[in-house]
């Protein structure tokens, strides 16, 4: 776990203590009619092999944009404006298109948001798995393909006969698992799972997450799990990162993040989760995230923050380590040891 802004790895060989995925100062910008929108703003983090990172944020926090940017799948009008994405030492952002295509799926795989529509509706499932495998291992024979596909499907808990179906003949949970089967078909080192359980009911969500966990553990792959469901992420991840208005505002081990979060936004996020045992009014976070084209000077959360003071509206807080493996971008530190109690402001300043 590295401190943001600096890369710890200097080594190109995996299996050593270097991070398998090292994101440094990533910037992703959308060229909109009203000007550039900084959807991902100087984000840095690193993953060890086998580590599970959960990225949380509201809609528009930039988390999905970041997910697609990791594999250079950003679509116009978005573009990657700066930074490095080091996969096992190789910067994905500077690879040639051919090398990039070879790396995708083989070393880093995507489990996309909305698996409902991630599968080509006019192609049988079998062909969609085959073309993925053949794109990287063109000499695989038909017989080998058959066997591998059967294995892959069984591994995610699907009947191999499903391969001959069309996507519309599968249920939501089955489709999500099929997509995971494809994503893990070449044993990637990193899996980027972008809201894999949205639009699924709770029971199926659990099954899918369990499958994902099993797959990941079996492959020893690192996972970046992107979502907005704090409860789900907390149950799955080793490390949790919180994104707000394109910035990574806090990152730390899950126990510390849930038990004693440092950033006010994280605290409010956790508080907004309804509890099963305690009956109380649903608390939200008053106000709205700032428009990404016109970010306020200073901390982007200041307008909504109950603990904001003058410095917050002027100076952009930088990431700092408050505990081993725990970083936060907030002006409350290092002056405070933990987060002071929050009082929700009566009115929210624009």
């Amino acid at each position: 776990m590295s401190v943001s802004g600096k890369s710890v790895s200097g080594l190109n060989v995996s299996g050593t203590s270097g991070p398998i995925l090292d994101v440094q100062n990533l910037d992703v910008v959308y060229d909109t009619v009203s000007g550039p929108a900084r959807a991902v703003n100087n984000v840095s983090f690193a993953l060890r092999p086998g580590e599970r990172l959960g990225l949380i944020g509201e809609s528009g926090s930039g988390k999905t944009t970041m997910g697609t940017a990791l594999m250079r799948l950003t679509r116009a009008p978005g573009r990657i404006a700066g930074g490095r994405v080091l996969l096992d030492g190789t910067d994905l952002l500077t690879l040639s298109p051919r090398a990039l295509r070879a790396t995708r799926l083989r070393d880093i795989a995507l489990v996309p948001q909305g698996a409902m529509s991630a599968l080509n509706p006019v192609m049988r499932l079998r062909r969609q798995i085959e073309d993925a495998i053949l794109a990287h291992e063109p000499r695989t024979t038909q017989a080998q393909l058959r066997d591998r596909i059967a294995q892959l499907l069984t591994r995610v808990g699907l009947n191999p006969a499903v391969a001959d179906r069309y996507p519309h003949e599968l249920s939501g949970g089955m489709k999500q698992r099929a997509v995971m089967a494809i994503a893990t078909s070449l044993a990637p080192k990193v899996i980027v799972a972008d809201e894999p359980t949205s639009a699924l009911d709770v029971v199926v969500q659990r099954q899918v997450m369990q499958t994902l966990g099993r797959l990941q553990a079996g492959l020893g792959a690192a996972v970046v799990l992107i979502g907005h469901d704090m409860g789900l992420i907390a149950q799955f991840a080793d490390t949790v990162g919180v994104m707000y208005a394109g910035r990574l505002v806090e990152l730390g081990p899950v126990a510390a993040m849930i038990g004693s979060p440092r950033h006010p936004y994280t605290r409010l996020l956790i508080d907004s989760l309804p509890g099963i045992d305690v009956k109380r009014r649903l608390a939200g976070i008053p106000g709205l995230p700032p428009p990404l084209v016109k970010l306020p000077v200073g901390c982007p959360f200041a307008p909504r923050c109950p603990l904001a003071h003058d410095r917050c509206r002027v100076d952009l807080p930088l990431s700092q380590e408050v505990a081993p493996g725990h970083v936060v971008a907030c002006h409350l530190y290092p002056d405070n040891a933990t987060l002071p109690p929050l009082t929700i402001k009566a009115e929210v300043q624009p």
Partner: protein, 334 residues
């Protein structure tokens, strides 16, 4: 065959028959809605315009009255009309008495079908691929420059294009013949010379129809592709590391093609309409020219017959397209 597929087919077949039924009925009703005896009026007009001089008007008139029972109640006439249709009797031409309408249509049909089929297939497929290529990010500058040109082309009615083409290629440059299906002096034989002649005469009309439509198909396909490209399965296909060519064709075009085929079906009527006019301009011996000559000569039954054939042919073509659709889209197949 599953029940979904069966009900889809049943619905389509019903529509086919419905269209034919409505067309026939409309064809029957309209002339009879107007005051006067249609046959007498037509004959009278022919007489005054001078082309009826060589006919024995009385004989024709009597033959018609007896044959088609124009003095009988409307309902009987209607039933007779249907009976005649089943016997493939579309009446007789006034101007070319006693040539049967069916025969005239049968002679003209192959010319029209050949012309239209070739032109439509060419423009549809070339246009669709062009449109698809245009939508793919990374389309070259040169190709992108085509877009305004295509927009303009798609807006101009293609029978006007035909006029321009006749002028440029047939009159000014004299590369190709300006009119007809074959040289007027040729005797039709099954040999290479005849075939060549036919082809030479077909080039301009075919091109007029094709060029006039290509813009429309290209722009439509481009717009479909743009939607498809926004879909998640394209992103996932790229995430799998597939080559751009594969993604473009098997994930992009393959999906965008479906609504494009629907567009073909919806616009076939307009394509046929335009083709009729092109035939007139080129004096091409198809149904279009037949219709035109019949209109000029007020050859009543020929007009009705051609219109009916046009409508039915189109309905059948649409039905065939409807049959193809499930083959391409598994979601309908079940």
């Amino acid at each position: 065959m599953s029940s979904d597929l069966a009900s889809y087919l049943a619905k389509r077949i019903t529509q086919l028959f419905l269209v034919i039924f409505i067309a026939v009925s409309v064809n029957f009703i309209i002339p009879r809605l107007l005051p006067g005896d249609p046959v007498a009026t037509a004959l009278a007009r022919l007489q005054t315009s001078g082309s009826g001089q060589t006919m024995d008007i009385q004989a024709v008139s009597d033959a018609y009255r007896a044959r088609y029972g124009l003095d009988q109640p409307l309902w009987n006439q209607y039933l007779n009309y249907w009976a005649d249709l089943f016997r493939l009797d579309l009446g007789v031409s006034f101007a070319n008495f006693p040539e049967k309408v069916t025969v005239m249509i049968a002679n003209a049909l192959p010319w029209s079908v050949g012309l239209l089929a070739t032109a439509t297939l060419l423009s549809f497929f070339i246009g669709s691929f062009l449109g698809g290529r245009l939508a793919w990010p990374g389309a070259g500058r040169g190709i992108r420059a085509l877009v305004p040109g295509l927009m303009v082309l798609s807006a101009i009615p293609f029978y006007l294009l035909a006029i321009i083409m006749v002028y440029i290629f047939a009159v000014e440059l004299r590369w190709l013949p300006p009119a007809g299906g074959v040289e007027t002096t040729r005797i039709m034989r099954l040999d290479w010379a005849t075939a060549q002649d036919i082809l030479r005469h077909a080039v301009l009309p075919c091109l007029s129809i094709a060029i006039g439509n290509i813009g429309f198909w290209a722009l439509g396909m481009r717009s479909q592709m743009v939607s498809v490209l926004g879909e998640d399965y394209i992103t996932f296909a790229e995430a799998k590391g597939l080559s751009p060519g594969r993604v473009f064709f098997w994930y992009g075009i393959r999906n965008a093609f479906l609504p494009q085929i629907t567009a073909l079906a919806l616009n076939l009527g307009a394509v046929v309409s335009g083709a009729v006019l092109v035939e007139v301009i080129f004096n091409y011996p198809g149904l279009g020219s037949l219709l035109y000559v019949a209109i000029r000569g007020q050859d009543y039954f020929v007009i009705q017959g051609v219109v009916l054939v046009l409508i039915v042919t189109l309905a059948v073509m649409l039905f065939i397209v409807d049959l193809i659709y499930p083959l391409l889209d598994p979601r309908i197949r079940r």
